[in-house]
């Protein structure tokens, strides 16, 4: 099968499987979705093995891609958000493995530490903060418009696949032009040089952006409710009358400034 046709089959089978496997349907439909996803996954791995003519690294590439795609599907399909976060850590490990295969050692370490170590820990903390006791709530067990969502996403994938893998992009002369020699050593040195010379303004702007985000996050999350004696829930925000009387009491001279 040509790669373009194979990618189209992956898109169709994967879209149908994901639409069926999203939570909120009867058990047999979900299991049918899992089966379709397994078939689509196997075809995707065959497609990758056919397209990536990398020689000795192909086994690692296919294995890491398989782990990544399985983690991504499990993350999107699982009802519980904690499991989604943990499967996303699996995806990050597989993705950084692919980065290591592409000789990007610095990005491998940086992405792994920052994503799995910082961002995902923050996500798990917030998930634990917003837990509700008892069974899973409706918004976890139901997906909204699964067929339309899968149709939209996998239409894009089908178009990308069939155009990208057709002969005029993947033909012999295009592949011959993409031969590469091994790169120079010192990956972190070279990335740092680019960052400090060509992209130094972007670096400074990113630092300012991070500072602004940190200040903004603290400001947003700091709006703490007043603990009135008659308030039922400690998480309720104050009503409008409380806020207006408090502001006029505390700043009697601030009106009209």
């Amino acid at each position: 099968m040509t790669p373009a046709l194979l990618s189209l089959a992956v898109a169709i089978l994967g879209g149908a499987g994901l639409a069926l496997a999203l939570p909120g349907k009867a058990r047999p439909l979900i299991y049918a979705g899992y089966t379709l996803l397994a078939g689509a996954g196997a075809m995707a791995l065959m497609l990758l093995a056919e397209v990536a003519g990398g020689g000795s690294q192909i086994v690692y590439f296919v294995i890491l891609s398989a782990i990544g795609i399985f983690g991504a599907l499990a993350m999107v399909v699982h009802p519980k958000p904690v499991y989604s976060a943990l499967f996303f850590i699996l995806v990050v490990v597989a993705t950084t493995g692919l980065l290591l295969l592409a000789e990007a050692e610095f990005l491998f370490a940086a992405v792994l530490i920052i994503y799995a170590g910082a961002i995902l820990v923050t996500y798990v903390f917030v998930i634990m903060l917003a837990q509700q006791p008892g069974d899973l709530p409706r918004y976890d067990t139901d997906a909204r418009a699964p067929f339309l969502g899968a149709l939209a996403g996998f239409t894009i994938l089908g178009i990308l696949g069939t155009r990208l893998l057709s002969d005029d992009v993947l033909g012999d002369e295009a592949m011959a032009a993409a031969q590469v020699e091994s790169g120079p050593p010192g990956n972190a040195t070279l990335v740092g040089l680019e960052l400090m010379t060509t992209y130094v303004i972007g670096l400074q702007l990113t630092a300012v952006l991070l500072l602004a985000a940190m200040v903004g996050a603290i400001a947003i999350a700091r709006r703490r409710p007043e603990r009135e004696a008659h308030e039922a829930s400690p998480f309720a925000l104050p009503t409008d009358s409380n806020e207006s009387t408090e502001s006029t009491e505390s700043n009697p001279n601030a009106g009209g400034a």
């Binding site: 990398g54 690294q57 592409a102 990007a104 418009a145 992009v169 990335v191």
Partner: protein
């Protein structure tokens, strides 16, 4: 080898896109955004390692991925602060609780 990276990136991005559109839990929606970012990182590093011009590997893709990492971290911080605030307003993490624009 470039096409292999691009195909994996397309798959990760599409799965993240479908999850973003479909799930109702606010936290899961933002988690799928991070999955889309992972796809973009793989794509851009693949193009840096195997440039289309056929020369030695460049590092522009790596710098792009670093900036993307910083922006993803900032976005995660603000998004989670917003999610906590929205949870305090309505007591639910449901995205459908915010589908009407009227104040309650």
């Amino acid at each position: 080898m470039l096409v292999g990276y691009v195909v994996v990136a397309a798959l990760l991005f599409t799965i993240g896109l479908v999850g973003f559109v479909t799930r109702r839990n606010l936290i899961t929606i933002f988690l799928c955004t991070e999955l889309m970012f992972q796809g973009i990182v793989v794509n851009v590093v693949g193009f840096a390692r195997y440039p289309l011009s056929g020369g030695p590997p460049t590092y522009d893709g790596h710098v792009f991925a670093l900036f993307l990492l910083a922006i993803a971290a900032a976005e995660a911080a603000i998004a989670l602060a917003l999610v906590v605030l929205l949870y305090r307003y309505r007591g639910t993490l449901d995205a459908n609780a915010w589908k009407l624009l009227k104040e309650s």
